[in-house]
Symmetry: C2
Subunit: 454 residues, 2 copies
């Protein structure tokens, strides 16, 4: 086992995770007098807020990804390391990867969160979540395969099941997915000969009493009405009690209902990534029910001044008593704060506690339809949609000049085209689960039941 | 089993395969007084000549794919069917899919070809071919993972193996891959901290006596010199005799050599797709040694005036005695010819035999470097490169207005950026073959050893 020490006396900051939290920590440290190692399992940062556009065939994965090495090309104090951290030793100040151990002076853990299926992990293969590029490709495969299968189906009941989409969870991802599928169904109308894609049924189930619960109540109302106009049926105060044999069972009060659907998508629940539990075991720090690490006012963990937890993996409740939401702006501001605090400390100083500056939130519902909730103004409809577009383009450009995405949006908007609607990953579609093995791989075992995708 | 008859008296043309041959047959028939069914395993046409740009991280798969339904949206006589043909019954005039049987009046088989490993199918998993989007993603994963692994490797010999790329076959694909990897290595120079990516070694092995053997000899010479300038070592008259344990053994005359490489790519050999053999068994038609179907002067097969075989699956030798090359323009012209012949026949007429109008050929070697072989002029260098660009953009725009690709190229050219360099498909990289199962799938068996990609 190689133990890697930085071979000079500079303070070594190790950042685990290249999401918004880790990325902004490293960017803010880029000119500081420290060495930085950024570790991620993937070689790219993913702009997760637009992942639903990959899942619905508007953008390609590369459009919303930035290669980490390219982002930090000019930051000569920063090393990018592709690898997965399995363990952390807070006493020896080391992070442990499969093939090496890296010593840190300061550690920033920003590995984010996954979906929670609320104890029903058997639902996971039945109801796709949307966290990774692979998730998006899988959802894209399922959605477009469903229309293909409906086109071929002669039994009207099965055809209806193929044209029924159930989305669990009406936060931003659930709402944006529902809206995008509805727009997609309209776009595809002329492409099919046997089905009318506008007969597509989209059911959005929400546990709480309104959609987009992190926004102002009047915007939730607008969002629900906008969805209704798009043909999305929204049902609030509703809990999913079972998913089995392509039937979703759900309960609203005492009323139990069932719906048959071939495409069930999961946009609910949060579960801190595995390193949260590792930290808990190693340091005694507390995690909340969702597995997120309870952090101190300065984003460190109790008893370890040199370990920070930021972004979706952290539970920061020192502002108004309830945890900050799991959104990109929180992770970004936390990363910037931590980077500044590290630099202050090097000169013997410190910073006041972290404070989140709520910049507001926004959600795209459909073409020309969005809701924007800012502290000073609330927008809806076309104006909100333009605002949404500008904000996202601004953020995308900030760390990677992807003007192409702008062209692409504009182009797709004008042509109503879904150019990225490849069914890949598995050549088969719909219920067929045949896996062919014409893709060369290094191990036979993997080759047998593996099909790479796009 | 459903037997689908078109429910009116129109002549029914069934086309199997949505590559260049099938696509242009269907397009040319779009306004004819026939019913057309276009069957493909995939829901998109792939612009294969640019696939190497996906494999080397410049373009996304969707940039070079056109959804078949979108292409034929306005062709109301054309049905697109996503499915795989397993069998053909020439007496009953039916094609047989897994779930249905379709009756045809005229059948056009255009299912193309795969790579041949010359009887060494055990090399397939060791040396990736480049035919499908999944192949391109797999090669992209291997190439970018190799640089990542080299960055982490401390043993100089292993590091060298990671930075060594062997490409077997110096036709257009092999030459373009070699050039693109060399350009990539230059682009990545500043992104890594421990390795100098410009030390990358690229070996291009060719069985024949020159690269790009389908072009004029003086252009082969130019291409070889251009490759040399890019640092690619080309070795002609060389046969690969073994691939094992990441060692390629090859023979030039009596001289046997070996090279250790972690990334071996296969761009040699042609093998007609499986339907060629099906046709041979069902109709007695002859196939050549590569499994391509020997066709008559009018592209039908012997004894069956209503079955055409076009594109890479066909062996047409009625022009100058040797088979037409397996390139897109041949398939395109054959498709157009067949479509016209079908229409002529409906009025009791016919056409003279098929003649290929050789429009010339071209290959991109590197930035500002290409070779163009036209009947009336031969171009090289920057002029050829611009010509290459214009021709490809023209073809891409012809059936799908993808101006975006133009922007993307221009942008990547200016910024020297490789934006599509995602390592996906498997989260691990290099020699690691760990397959995680966080992607929800419908069957557990598949889920266990499966990881979709992008």
């Amino acid at each position: 086992m190689v133990v890697v020490h930085e071979n000079n006396a500079l303070h070594h900051v190790v950042i685990i995770g290249g999401g918004f939290g880790g990325l902004y920590t490293a960017k803010t440290l880029a000119k500081a007098n420290v060495n930085v190692t950024l570790i991620d399992k993937r070689n790219f940062h993913l702009f997760q807020p637009l992942l639903y556009q990959v899942a619905t065939g508007t953008l390609s994965p590369a459009d919303i990804s930035s290669p980490l090495r390219a982002v930090f090309r000019k930051s000569k104090n920063t090393k990018v390391l592709l690898g997965e951290v399995n363990d952390i030793d807070p006493e020896a100040q080391e992070v442990i990867l499969g093939d090496r151990t890296i010593h840190y002076d300061t550690l920033v853990v920003a590995t984010g969160a996954n979906h929670s299926y609320y104890g029903h992990d058997n639902w996971r293969p039945l109801a796709s979540g949307l966290k990774t590029v692979e998730d998006a490709i899988e959802i894209r495969r399922r959605i477009f395969s469903a229309f293909e299968a409906a086109e071929k189906e002669t039994d009207p009941e099965l055809r209806r099941a193929w044209l029924t989409f159930v989305i669990v969870g009406a936060g931003p991802t659930g709402v944006e997915l529902a809206g995008a599928i509805s727009e997609l169904a309209k776009t595809l109308k002329e492409d099919f000969r046997n089905i009318d894609t506008t007969e597509t049924k989209i059911l959005l189930l929400q546990g709480g009493d309104r959609v987009l619960p992190h926004m102002a109540p009047q915007l939730s109302k607008v969002a629900k009405e906008s969805l209704q106009k798009l043909g999305v049926v929204t049902q609030t105060n509703t809990r999913v009690t079972n998913i089995e044999n392509e039937i979703v069972t759900f309960k609203q009060g005492d009323q139990v209902e069932q719906i048959t659907s071939k495409t069930i998508l999961w946009a609910a629940g949060v579960k801190g990534s595995a390193l949260g539990q590792v930290l808990a075991n190693r340091t005694g720090v507390e995690c909340d029910r969702s597995g997120r690490v309870i952090v101190e006012p300065d984003l460190t963990i109790k008893g370890y001044k040199n370990i920070f937890v930021i972004g979706d993996l952290g539970n920061f409740s020192h502002q108004d008593g309830k945890p900050l939401p799991s959104v990109a702006p929180v992770a970004k501001q936390e990363g910037e704060y931590v980077a500044k605090l590290i630099q202050k400390r090097l000169t013997g100083q410190t910073l006041p506690q972290f404070r989140y500056n709520d910049v507001g939130s926004l959600a795209m519902i459909g073409k020309n339809l969005a809701v924007v909730d800012l502290s000073f103004i609330k927008l809806q409809g076309f104006v909100a949609w333009i605002f949404w577009l500008v904000v996202h383009i601004y953020f995308l450009i900030e760390f990677d000049t992807k003007l192409v995405v702008v062209f692409q949006w504009a182009w797709n908007y004008i042509t109503r085209n879904r150019r990225s609607r490849l069914i890949t990953g598995r050549e088969a579609f719909g219920e067929a689960t045949t896996v062919t093995n014409d893709v060369p791989l290094t191990t036979i075992k993997v080759q047998e039941a593996y099909k790479v995708g796009v």
